[in-house]
Amino acid sequence: MFSPTKRSWLKAAALAAVTVLAACGKEEPPPAPKAPAPEAKAPAPPPAPFKAAWVYVGPVGDAGWTFAHDQGRKAVEAEFGAKVATTFVEKVPEGADAERVIRDLAVQGNKIIFATSFGFMEPMLKVAAEFPDVKFEHATGYKTAPNMRIYDSKFYEDTYLAGIIAGTVTKTGTLGFVGSFPIPEVLRNINAFTLGAQSVNPKIRTRVVWVNTWFDPPKESEAAQSLLNGGADVLLQNTDSTAVLQTAEKNGKLAFGWDSDMSAFAPNAHLGSAIVDWSNYYKKAVRDAMEGTWKTERTVWGVKEGQNDLVKIAASVPEDAKKKVAGIQEAMKAGTFEVFTGPVVDNTGKERLAKDAKADQDWKDKVDFYVRGVEGKLPTAK
């Protein structure tokens, strides 16, 4: 009886592998030694395209954060055509792997590299020191170098607008927020959401659940479900997938899309999508690098520059809320509206911003509290 031993299987497999590899090798055209003559006759070759690379923390298909960055990258390709060649690496874990990926990209000849997550800050700083000719751009961080600069976005403007709508349509007076990590950026968003809602209904309360990850759809689903179980009927998130919105849809409640237009995922639940559009910034950054006008700075754009907005507002939202949102959007575009304008009191009663004072960048960077109306104590509160 034919009784194959492990050894014979391994031999057969090795033979097959070698044959396949050899066949693949033969298909490539053999490198013929090119004579120098053709080069002299041909016209001067076009300048090599300017190489730009992006490093993503999640998959492009998350329909959220990374998707938005990739849309920006595609806008750069569309704008510059053959003059720019873009690449990206997705799902890069924050940490040692990131350093390797960024270094690889620099070695491959990319002249500008964008890292799209907070956790890439230290790895990028290290690599920037080794490649003084390459420009490094880090999103949502705070450290810079002569050839590394930072950019960010005013997400809290989006969440403020969302808050206005949420405050108008909620029936239970309780809003829910699925948070990723308790860092200032997310806290700003929670606070702005609550402040926006309170501008319509001062009695609004917000409940927050932390999932301690940027992207984990089943967990985001569970967190959303527990918020809804606890009485919230309008949800917002700071995580990267459509799970929260879809959970709201399943339960017949309302929610917002985040980072990208998620209206297709929840026809009934979708109130609006708080989006970020990086294309204007990415085009500017690449142009700066190509024209030599690049300098270290910190760029934080918002609704005014067309980088943030609340889009696809549902038809079911009452007219007065829509008008109010439109009014504030106009003011943001004119640069006259500041979301964090005093008086701002945190939920322990301490005053954080005096009446009529407008928060400066430093204040916003150091947000480490919940405003009044947000329930609970911060995980890392001192």
Partner: protein
């Protein structure tokens, strides 16, 4: 009171994929095969189920597709481990990694896709009972199927002849072989059954629970299911208990956060895993207890001496 009912309902929903995968692994382990590839099988089952649901619009086709995909992977693992005698732990780990990569590769075109709307299911009369209705009787049919499966498996393993043969093979394959049973084929059958159940668990996650596909959707639930079998001392009914405990603590920690309880959220996130470890430690205090319940040939390859 309503919140507690909703919490119970959420616990059952959260525990169902763990029950299914855990029971599948239990069948594997009762036959003596340790399949560390559960996570990979669940992922492939998830993408197969999602793709099937996307193209066919039917959940049950999706579950069948998930089971089939799980069985295909398990078959490969079974041949490697049972006939070629490769190390079960290494093969299982390799299967996990393969499943993760393969599902991501195939799933690229399905990310961001939406499934057709599904109707919700309620048990006809019982769903209207004041507290128990929302708590227990508004689940997806597969949740009830999982409970019935646990009971059926308990009957099968401990009250039927085939179950006895399976357990015998898990305890002492040499004795079973000398009695004339086709040890390797029965083990393969167990591995296939386990793979099918893990595949269905994965499909449940992507088609009912999430419902969407992204890379890494299963997020470690396969490993939790693997921990459930020793947790349950290899008994089906206790797998139910372990799965609902894990699901319950997961939902409870979100509930506590939302209610504003003053415990750091990071600690609450740890809670389900810590609970599992604590129970495992408690169970392992008595080594004799483990020895009695663990299938004696678990993880060891079988070579018929013929």
């Amino acid at each position: 009171m309503n919140e507690v009912a909703l919490l119970v309902a959420a616990t059952i929903a959260s525990g169902t994929p763990l029950v299914l995968a855990g029971l599948g692994l239990l069948v594997n382990e009762k036959a003596g095969v340790l399949n560390l590839g559960a996570e990979g099988i669940m992922l492939v089952g998830a993408i197969a189920g999602f793709a099937a649901a996307f193209h066919s619009g039917s959940e049950w086709v999706a579950f069948a597709a998930g089971a089939a995909a799980g069985m295909v992977l398990a078959a490969g693992f079974g041949v490697l481990v049972i006939w070629l005698g490769t190390n079960q732990y290494a093969s299982g780990l390799a299967l996990s990694l393969f499943g993760a990569g393969f599902s991501a590769f195939v799933g690229v075109q399905y990310v961001g896709r939406k499934l057709a709307e599904r109707s919700t299911f309620e048990v006809p009369v019982l769903a209207d009972i004041p507290f128990l209705g929302p708590a227990l009787f508004k689940q997806h049919p597969l949740a009830y199927a999982a409970v019935l499966l646990a009971l059926a498996l308990a009957w099968f393993l401990y009250r039927s002849r085939t179950g006895l043969v399976l357990r015998a093979i898990g305890e002492s394959p040499d004795s079973a072989h000398s009695l004339g049973y086709a040890v390797r084929w029965i083990r393969l059958a167990a591995v296939l059954a386990g793979g099918a159940l893990c595949g269905v668990a994965g499909a449940f996650l992507s088609v009912v629970y999430a419902p969407l596909w992204v890379e890494g959707l299963v997020a470690g639930r396969g490993w939790i299911a693997l921990a459930l079998t020793p947790f349950a001392t290899w008994r089906p009914a206790r797998v139910l208990l372990g799965a609902y405990l894990f699901g319950g603590v997961t939902m409870l920690q979100f509930h506590l956060q939302g209610a504003g309880v003053q415990i750091p959220s990071q600690f609450l996130s740890m809670l389900p895993y810590v609970a599992t470890i604590v129970v495992l430690a408690l169970i392992s205090r008595n080594p004799a207890w483990i020895r009695i319940n663990m299938p004696a040939s678990l993880g060891k390859p079988f070579h018929p001496s013929a």
